[in-house]
């Protein structure tokens, strides 16, 4: 289980490929990856960049708790969570959640759990900069099950 808070841009596919290369081959049957990417629009406005603030120390602690709970509930072989902080541009990956398991049900359910728990309990905050140069804090996350 690995958690990375990442102050610079990362390539999600290279990260997952490299991480999987260290897992014992033939042991896992299912891998799920979720990637949240910065869009260039939100709530009807064009967004030029974003600043992502976090609470160093507490963020890692909360992410570890989330992965521990996932591991208690599902049969997980390994998991990787990467989250960007700092200045973010449209099309940059913000979050990566990868889960390896024997059977697909565990990988799907665990990765869904991890992203929902992260969005409600991991201390990260987004501030958007619009094309009008106006800045605004994102005040709440959308519901992942009935996303608007």
């Amino acid at each position: 289980m690995t958690i990375k808070i990442c102050p610079t841009a990362f390539d999600p596919w290279e990260e997952v490929q490299a991480y999987q290369g260290n897992l014992p081959g033939g042991s896992f049957g299912a891998t799920t990856v979720f990637i949240g990417t910065m869009r260039d629009f939100n709530d009807g406005d064009d967004v030029t960049r974003m600043h992502l603030e976090h609470y160093p120390g507490m963020t890692e602690k909360q992410l570890e708790k989330i992965l521990d709970k996932a591991k208690q509930q599902w049969q997980i072989i390994d998991a990787l969570v990467i989250h960007r902080v700092g200045a973010i541009l449209p099309n940059d990956p913000i979050v990566l959640i990868a889960v390896w398991s024997t059977h697909r049900g565990d990988a799907f359910d665990a990765s869904r759990y991890v992203i929902e728990a992260l969005k409600t309990t991991a201390p990260f905050w987004k501030k958007e900069v619009l094309t009008t140069a106006q800045e605004r804090w994102v005040t709440k996350n959308t519901d992942g099950y009935n996303a608007g």
Binding site: M58, P123, W125, K126, T139, K140, N141
Partner: protein, 77 residues
Amino acid sequence: MTIKIRYFASLKERLGRSEDTVAFEAPLTVKDAWYRANASQALPVNVLASVNMEYVDLHSIVQDNDEVAFFPPVTGG
């Protein structure tokens, strides 16, 4: 006894500072700690609070040297 209070994100901007130090003698709740540091500011609706990086409710009692934090709903991911 003293605690450190930290503020994050929009709350930090609104208050215009990122932390306070509060000295106290009698038992103090997290909510009390807010009003010691922000006498004139109502505790924001929906505010989240932590003590030593664990979520707590506002009626938890703080201890000497605790790190208390207040912040708005989280919006990562």
